[in-house]
Amino acid sequence: MAEDTAVEKDQPLADLEPMLPADGGRPDSASFASGGVIAFGDYARSYVAKVRSGDSGLLPVVIGLIVIAAAFQISNSHFLTALNLVNLLEQGSIFMLLALGVIFVLVIGEIDLSVGYVAGLGGIIAGKMLTGAHPWPTWMAIIVPIIACGAIGFLQGSLITRIGLPSFIVTLAGFLGWNGVMLIILGNGGTIPINNNVFDDFANANLSVTVGWVLIAALVVLYAAMLWQKDGRRRKSGLVAPPVGLTILKIVVVALAGIALALICNTNRSQIAIASIQGIPWVVFVVLAMLLLCTFILTRTRLGRYMYAIGGNTEAARRAGVNTALIRTLSFTLCSAMGGVAGIIYAGQLRGVSTNVDGGQLVLYAIAAAVIGGTSLFGGRGKAVHAVIGGLVVASIANGMGLLELSAASEYVVTGLVLLAAVTVDALTHRRASAT
């Protein structure tokens, strides 16, 4: 406080002129205390401050993932084989896609318990469209389920925002109701088989080795170019900017992750000598595409900005002129639509939909993935990438415990404990953040 006072006294109030910008602000911010490129040390310090205030970044969960992988590898040497890791990716893709959807509702401080069965319903709609005497074109069987699931989310979201019902109850009703609808459509113990090349490929096929490398290289180069341009522009305009070293470090990390993914997936993982199975599964790129889309919506558009604002302080968002009911409804819509995408992949993986779909487990794993990845249950904090990293953790646990031939029961217990741990960390950082 004493320091503040001294500074203020020496500094006469600057002329008001630039603060009433008729033409928008001039970038004469050079006088602002913290403009310019920041040194690495300062960056590290502000990172620590960020972690303490609850925005923990990815480092803790990545470390956790490495610990989990090491533990399973020690107990079963099959865990880190190419075959198993690709399996794990394919299993995890469903959790990741669902978690991407769930993040939209977690960010606004709500919950969606129905998305697992909504996904199942999406798979059923696709199956119904592709079977029968007059199957629909494949692209229609992709678009229509996604839109239908989005409509379900819009309906549930409208009940929540227009009537003011709690999202927990409305989506719990959805959890029961859509499960019932599924059972009605499928009949007792019924199945809809899907024999469609595109569905099968999206869920089960691999890219050729060359195409895989080219696509990964293209994605890394695209990321590097965008980051380089973004950070470069900030450095040039005299805004607070990360040092060049950090930009390069980020690019290197992403490039290494890409190379590792391609190396693992392009290893021949066939267990018999005469056939070879190799290449990056298509579904990896489906997940990456959805990750990019969700990141784009959350960080680059007003819609995303308003979702965070609502999660942080709904009343403040309302006073700022944000149509909070609309934005919240759209969050539920996007969540369910993403459930539709997951349902299509799920149906493709199983080559059909049956009454065995466990929407309860799916949604709990998805929420666990999002929270483990770093998204807060209290709203306002979360990133799309949390869904992918958290999905990896959940899939690793499920997969590793399967390898150890532990029962499903103990898998549930462990996943439950991990979720509890993640939520506890979330609650503790939240309490610290709101106490300051």
Binding site: D4, M19, P21, P27, S53, T301, R305, N313, A320, G321
Partner: protein, 280 residues
């Protein structure tokens, strides 16, 4: 207090920029018989208030007198149940915060209305983000926010990309004030803007308030601190249990008169003040 000297200087300023004779000026904002009810609670009953451009109108009153509710009806948070709002002489309906900001009314709320999880720039532009090709234009917003903050001598922020939750109370207040004055506003409403501030920041906000008025903006200033009120106000309006009981020119006003109105809704010391003020 060295406030007296500077007050006179600025008051002269306001006269110069306000324009027009005292009798013929159109108020920037006029409330006529405005009422607001919350269930059984009659929060406001038939408020009449005039706010002139180039003047600071202070609104005082005890806790629960209806100050915040008055401001919220003007800024579209709680649209009034009855009565009329005139903006530059013409009747208007302010139903949403957007309506208010479209007219040029900006508010610094008592409960700040900032999103703790968003950073300073995101808060200052909330609801009015700049876009390029429909995408958020972060750099342009960051430059403008930084320029506004440094023009307000807010130099204690480490970074404009800091989340608001990590700021001190005074810093948050500064951000809220900067947010309100960044737009081409004609009327700036401040609900207890100095309540959480240290001595230096209070002086800064008061000086800022005077500067806004001297540029021809109307300012409504709510405070419990009579030192602050007498330092900045041209007009002092007193609310008592949801009624406007006095509207007095601040110059030469006896502080004790205001205290009487605030505490009891009436003053025996100078009965002619109210009538006199209404003519202004």
């Amino acid at each position: 207090m060295d406030g007296i000297e500077s007050e006179q200087v600025v008051a002269a300023d306001a006269q110069a920029s306000g324009g027009g004779g005292a009798g013929s000026r159109t108020p920037l904002l006029e409330l006529r018989k405005m009422s607001k009810q919350f269930g059984p609670v009659q929060a406001l009953s038939e408020i009449d208030l005039k706010v002139y451009p180039g003047e600071v109108t202070a609104v005082v009153g005890d806790n629960g007198a209806g100050k915040s509710v008055t401001l919220k009806t003007i800024s579209g948070i709680h649209p009034p149940d009855g009565g009329e709002i005139l903006w530059q002489g013409k009747p208007v309906h302010i139903r949403t915060p957007k309506d208010a900001s479209a007219l040029g009314i900006e508010t610094v709320y008592q409960d700040l209305a900032l999103c703790g999880n968003l950073d300073v720039v995101q808060n200052m532009f909330l609801g009015r983000e700049r876009t390029r090709n429909h995408l958020l234009d972060e750099n342009s917003m960051e430059s403008a926010a930084a320029a506004t903050l440094s023009s307000l001598s807010v130099t204690t922020l480490r970074s404009v990309r800091q989340s608001v939750a990590s700021l001190s109370g005074g810093q948050r207040q500064a951000v809220a004030v900067a947010k309100a004055v960044m737009w081409n506003s004609k009327l700036v409403i401040m609900d207890e803007p100095t309540a959480a501030l240290g001595v230096a920041q209070t002086a800064m906000v008061l000086e800022l308030t005077r500067r806004l008025a001297s540029r021809g903006l109307g300012v409504i200033f709510v405070s419990h601190n009579f030192n602050d009120v007498f330092e900045v106000a041209d007009q002092i309006a007193v609310l008592y249990l949801g009624r406007l009981v006095a509207s007095l020119p601040a110059k030469g006003l006896d502080r004790q008169v205001v205290v009487d109105y605030v505490t009891s809704g009436a003053s025996s010391r100078n009965g002619s003040q109210l009538a006199h003020a209404d003519g202004a």
